[in-house]
């Protein structure tokens, strides 16, 4: 089991993600010696993206610019809860030939994170079957770490 204080928080621009972050900040703000990585994973470009004349670099740039604003907001939330700025890192990356949950788990393994924190959307059974649930996949497939699913 990896060190639980080494924490990976998966974030995006949804209210669910922000709620999860606020809940988490409230707890982590009371703890010491944590290392937090704010991670945003985005999917590969949709079909037709390239035929609009854009490149993969354009796509990455669009996604990174968008991620920069909500990652900045996420850092603010953590700092306001009393978490030391120096212990917060951030990362964004495309899920390259992988699902978003697989990409999160790859980074968890690589960075030896002991805790993953993710928001829960609350999807229907049919929606989960067809479109998937990142939180469910993380719970099912994670190893050497604890997954917090914040609903």
């Amino acid at each position: 089991m990896n060190d639980w204080r080494n924490i990976l928080i998966a974030v995006d621009d949804t209210p669910t993600s922000e709620n999860a972050l606020k809940y988490t900040a409230d707890i982590l703000g009371k703890l010491e010696a944590t290392r937090i990585c704010l991670l945003h994973i985005y999917p590969e470009p949709p079909p037709g993206y390239y035929s609009s004349g854009k490149s993969l670099d354009d796509y990455r740039k669009e996604k990174e610019e968008k991620a920069a604003s909500f990652i900045h907001r996420a850092k603010d939330i953590l700092q306001q809860a009393g978490i030391d700025t120096n212990s917060i890192f951030s990362m964004d990356s495309m899920a390259d030939h992988a699902t978003i949950s697989q990409a999160i788990l790859d980074i968890q393994t690589e960075g030896e994170y002991g805790t993953i924190i993710v928001g829960k959307r609350g999807v229907s059974k049919a929606e989960e079957f067809l479109f998937g649930s990142i939180s469910s996949s993380l719970v099912h497939h994670s190893k050497d770490c604890t997954v917090w699913v914040v609903g």
């Binding site: 949709p46 030939h97 049919a126 067809l130 479109f131 998937g132």
Partner: protein, 328 residues
């Protein structure tokens, strides 16, 4: 670019002149080196790719969106004028459209490159249609496909005229044995990162001479980044159920059958219906009590009542293999 028949090699020109297709034509054939505008290529024209002169002898048809037998002008039937081989060409046609599954809409698109890669991956494998992909003069990806001489699986299962009980006990085990290998074939695609993309009962062809089941048509694709294979798995389930009961059962079919009627319909509970197809019953054991639970349990993975989904085609294959033991 097109050219007239004067530019053809003499032997090819002679074969074209004597061909039944051109004998009845009132205009001269044209030779197309560029297939971009496939709608301008007509019956009796020649498509030149991969150093072969392919004479267009007809077009394939397919039922789609509730309309039977729509001609597909981007999929001409052809004959190689040098060898006489009859084949099918698939030309690049970029099309996107939405398909509704339950309350959800999924955007589909044609992906010629994926089909080309699947053809390459499955070269020599009997469960897949065979062919090769080449580029025309303008770089369009033309797929040259071998014709499977046979019939659609959903027609094949009715060939004996047996009633359902006879079909179930005498014919189904052999059908499901082959279908199991078809599921394993889809698993091979998934393990290599490809979807079939359009699993349906007329996309398995049964070879006339051998009765071998073979998958066809790999160019559909869809964008579902977190569950890339879910639609394929759902459609495998649908196809399996269709094979077992030779049809789809909604309340109206049950009420229309004098042997079933309200007596059966009253036993159907909300969880017995399909996860993504409104009013279709998947707890088929309630309709056909001789379906063993091992087989019915596979169906229930696709029901509204399920708490467990299949994640892989291999999981379906494993359960089907176990269920087959109960049938044979």
């Amino acid at each position: 670019m097109t050219a007239g028949i004067d530019s053809l090699p003499p032997t090819i020109r002679e074969r074209l002149r004597e061909h039944r297709v051109t004998r009845s034509m009132r205009r001269a054939s044209r030779i197309f080196f560029d297939t971009t505008d496939f709608t301008s290529i007509d019956y009796g024209d020649i498509i030149f790719v991969d150093d072969c002169y392919f004479l267009v002898t007809g077009y394939t048809k397919e039922g789609r969106f509730g309309v039977d037998d729509q001609t597909k002008p981007w999929v001409p039937r052809v004959e190689d004028l040098a060898t006489g081989n009859k084949q099918i060409l698939k030309l690049v046609f970029h099309e996107t459209f939405d398909i509704t599954m339950g309350q959800f809409t999924i955007s589909y698109y044609r992906n010629p490159e994926k089909e080309a890669r699947v053809l390459e991956l499955t070269q020599g494998l009997p469960r897949f249609m065979q062919g090769r992909a080449v580029l025309d003069e303008k770089g369009n990806l033309v797929r040259i496909l071998d014709i499977i001489n046979g019939r659609r699986l959903d027609k094949f299962i009715y060939k004996s005229g047996a009633n359902h009980k006879e079909y179930f006990h005498q014919e189904l085990p052999a059908i499901l044995k082959q279908f199991l290998e078809c599921v394993q074939a889809i698993s091979l695609l998934h393990r290599n990162g490809f979807r079939h993309g359009d699993i349906r009962r007329d996309h398995i062809f049964v070879e006339r001479k051998t009765d071998l089941f073979r998958w066809i048509d790999f160019d559909y694709d869809y964008y579902m980044p977190e569950k890339p294979f879910a639609v394929d798995l759902y459609e495998l389930g649908n196809l399996l159920m269709y094979l077992v009961v030779r049809g789809n059962f909604h309340p109206r079919e049950i009420m229309a059958d004098p042997d079933m009627g309200e007596k059966i319909l009253n036993t159907i509970e909300p969880g017995d219906y399909a996860l993504l197809s409104k009013n279709r019953i998947v707890n088929l054991q309630k309709i056909f009590p001789y379906i063993p639970s091992e087989l019915n349990n596979i169906f229930l993975h696709f029901s509204l009542g399920t708490d467990v989904f299949y994640d892989t085609a291999d999981e379906i294959a494993q359960d089907l293999e176990a269920a087959l033991q109960k049938l044979t």
